[in-house]
């Protein structure tokens, strides 16, 4: 299992477009991928759940990955947060 924290740098927080791309990305992996904000954990495969967390700019979230391809998944997610959220 891999857990990693990210700070959302985009001032507008996690909007529908990047969230949609994140959900699409996670579909490429068989591992169970969860997103945790505060004490709420949701599956990253659900756009409704991600948006419902109301993630704002400056907040910290954790990504928890568990499964066979977790190492390649975390690399892809790392790259996503590096790039995608910078260019909203």
């Amino acid at each position: 299992m891999i857990t990693k924290d990210y700070i959302i740098t985009a001032a507008e927080g996690m909007h529908a477009r990047p969230a949609t791309n994140l959900v699409k990305l996670t579909k490429n992996y068989s591992s169970l991928i969860n997103l945790k904000k505060g004490d709420r954990t949701v599956k990253l495969s659900s756009l409704i759940n991600i948006l419902s967390l109301g993630i704002k700019g400056g907040e910290t979230i954790s990504i928890i990955i568990d499964g066979e391809d977790e190492t390649s998944a975390i690399i892809a997610i790392d790259a996503f947060f590096e790039e995608e959220l910078k260019h909203l």
């Binding site: 740098t9 985009a10 001032a11 507008e12 927080g13 909007h15 529908a16 477009r17 949609t20 959900v23 699409k24 949701v42 599956k43 495969s45 659900s46 756009l47 409704i48 759940n49 948006l51 419902s52 109301g54 704002k56 700019g57 909203l88």
Partner: protein
């Protein structure tokens, strides 16, 4: 019969009504009796998801890229929402555990999700409730269907009538068949209004509940200018409007054909029509409308929607891109105009009682030369790629101009020392938007190369009217004789001192004001690019002598009501 709403996209549409009714989401109260029912209802739901995804995928593959990528992004989000495992889990859970049928389970789950979004304190996210409702409606419609509904199955000359248009309604609207639309709710900035204007079809919004008196197949006339909808008109009226429609089409074609015609009055006075822009893309589009450059490049875009200040190199690339797109035409770069209602998340603004009278624009820049000089250096570096001019906003006295120029000189010195080239004679001007600046135009003209009159703020400050305040919005009036006198004085003083005077506020794009402003001696108008052809058409059909007479007459009038009535009369 006639209904009146807000005309948000001009033009005349004549066609048959097509009502987009929202499916009434009614709970059936059915209780499933056995496991076979549960299996059947679950299958029904899964089938609805599959059909709905197919529908939206078809919309994506038929999507016309020229309509902008926003629509595509919305559709992709809808695919994810339709196949959202949480929705699926909740619906199938209600079916299997609470023994509800697919219809009821879906209605409840969507209602909860919509409420969840509506309750969010983030304006953007709460607006996503419309997307959730949209996909919920689609799923519900497909519960009892066997094939996906083909989108945009309209006949030719259809006029859409709806309570409101969902995002997917507006995106999928085939504007070769749909000639206009009207909604019960909405205003000028609603999603539907924006789409209508960008596609050039007439639209009327905010018609209220009476709009639903219209029935399918009713013959309708939509006047997107006046906001009138005529229901089942007699033949005479239809004929009248056909003529009106033809004239309008002729007019708009004429305006488009004016693109390359110079804006010269009948007696040979050359006028410069420029565009207000936000980035390099705008510049390119503006040239397509016949703009001879930009009278206002707003640089705020570069500073907003990010978490740190843009550095010198990044800013340089931005200004350089605009300069290149302008292809040698002049571009007036307005230095940072933040504060007031424009906040930056990474910059600490003090809480203020009157932000519009507060810490903003040049006041911030003079207080924070460390930020200001970065922007000035970036503009200077970009000045070798085109014809850039620098403009300071919110100037209220000559001391501010001098202080800003000291920092500009410092920026130049630093570049010289580093051996970087720039336009050494880059013109420096100011916005005239504060009454004290307008009244001391004689003094300010001696310290700058040009003026640009910002009528929006000038009007707001002169009349002491907050233009965002709905209650007093009627007092916000650029035709107030006081405001007009200030404008005339600024133009007069600019010319007396041999400096250029332009205008970049909304008045510059108001056809009613064109003759008057010409008469005052204004020869540089900067406006949103789409307004250029209409203003040009007025200019090439007017003489500067008539314009001067109009100016003289207006100055004799004591109320904006008589002034606007008179200007309306001489313009048409």
């Amino acid at each position: 019969m006639m209904i009146n709403g807000i005309g948000v996209s001009p033009g005349i549409a004549i066609g048959k009504a097509h009502l987009l009714k929202k499916q009434e989401a009614a709970l059936s109260g059915v209780v499933l009796l056995n496991n076979a029912d549960v299996v059947a209802e679950t299958a029904k739901f899964n089938n609805a998801v599959a059909l709905s995804v197919q529908e939206v995928e078809a919309m994506i593959s038929n999507y016309d890229q020229s309509q902008g990528k926003e629509g595509l992004e919305i559709l992709e989000t809808h695919i994810e929402l339709l196949s959202d495992p949480q929705i699926s889990e909740d619906v199938t859970g209600k079916i299997s555990k609470e023994k509800k049928n697919a219809n009821d389970a879906l209605i409840e789950v969507i209602a909860d999700a919509v409420q969840l979004f509506k309750n969010m304190d983030d304006e953007y996210l709460s607006a996503r409730a419309a997307d959730v409702q949209d996909i919920g409606d689609r799923l519900l419609r497909n519960l009892n269907a066997s094939t996906p509904t083909s989108f945009a199955s309209y006949e030719a000359d259809t006029i859409i009538i709806a309570e409101d248009l969902t995002p997917s309604d507006t995106i999928s609207m085939d504007t070769t068949l749909v000639v206009g639309f009207s909604t019960q709710v909405g205003g000028r900035t609603s999603h539907a209004a924006i789409i209508a204007r960008s596609r050039g079809i007439p639209a009327i919004v905010g018609c209220g509940a009476t709009l639903m008196d219209i029935k399918d197949e009713d013959l309708l006339i939509l006047d997107g200018q006046s906001g009138d909808i005529i229901i089942n008109p007699d033949r005479e009226t239809v004929e009248q409007y056909r003529i009106k429609q033809e004239n309008w089409l002729k007019q708009s074609n004429l305006l488009r054909s004016l693109k390359d015609t110079p804006a010269t009055t009948t007696d040979g006075l050359n006028v410069k029509l420029l565009a207000n822009i936000g980035d390099a893309n705008d510049m390119e589009q503006a040239i397509g409308f016949g703009a001879e450059g930009s009278g206002l490049l707003r640089t705020e875009l570069l500073f907003m929607g990010r978490d740190t200040l843009p550095g010198e190199d990044e800013q340089f690339e931005f200004y350089k891109a605009v300069a290149l797109k302008a292809k040698g035409k002049p571009v007036i770069v307005r230095t940072l105009d933040i504060g007031g209602d424009k906040q930056l998340p990474y910059f600490n603004f003090p809480a203020e009682q009157n932000p519009f009278l507060g810490y903003r624009a040049i006041r911030i820049c003079l207080d924070r030369p460390d930020i200001f000089i970065v922007q000035l250096k970036a503009i200077l570096r970009a000045s070798t790629f085109g014809q850039l001019k620098i403009m300071f906003p919110m100037i209220s006295n000559i001391q501010e101009v001098r202080a800003a120029k000291v920092i500009l000189q410092q920026a130049k010195d630093e570049l010289t020392k580093a051996g970087i080239s720039y336009d050494k004679n880059i013109p420096v001007g100011i916005m005239i938007e504060i009454p004290s600046a307008a009244i001391t135009a004689d003094l300010l003209a001696k310290g700058v190369d040009f003026f640009s009159i910002g009528t929006n703020d000038l009007c707001q400050y002169t009349l002491a009217v907050d233009r965002m305040n709905e209650q007093i919005k009627d007092l916000y009036d650029p035709y107030n004789p006081g405001v007009l006198r200030l404008i005339a004085y600024v133009i007069e003083q600019g010319h007396k001192n041999n400096i250029e005077v332009g205008m970049c506020g909304e008045l510059a794009s108001d056809p009613k004001a064109t003759l008057l402003l010409l008469g005052m001696g204004l020869t540089e108008f900067s406006m949103s690019a789409t307004a250029i052809p209409e203003i040009k058409n007025i200019i090439i059909n007017s003489s500067s002598t008539t314009a001067k007479q109009v100016h003289k007459r207006v100055m004799e009038m004591d109320s904006s009501a008589s002034i606007t009535a008179y200007l309306q009369e001489v313009t048409t």
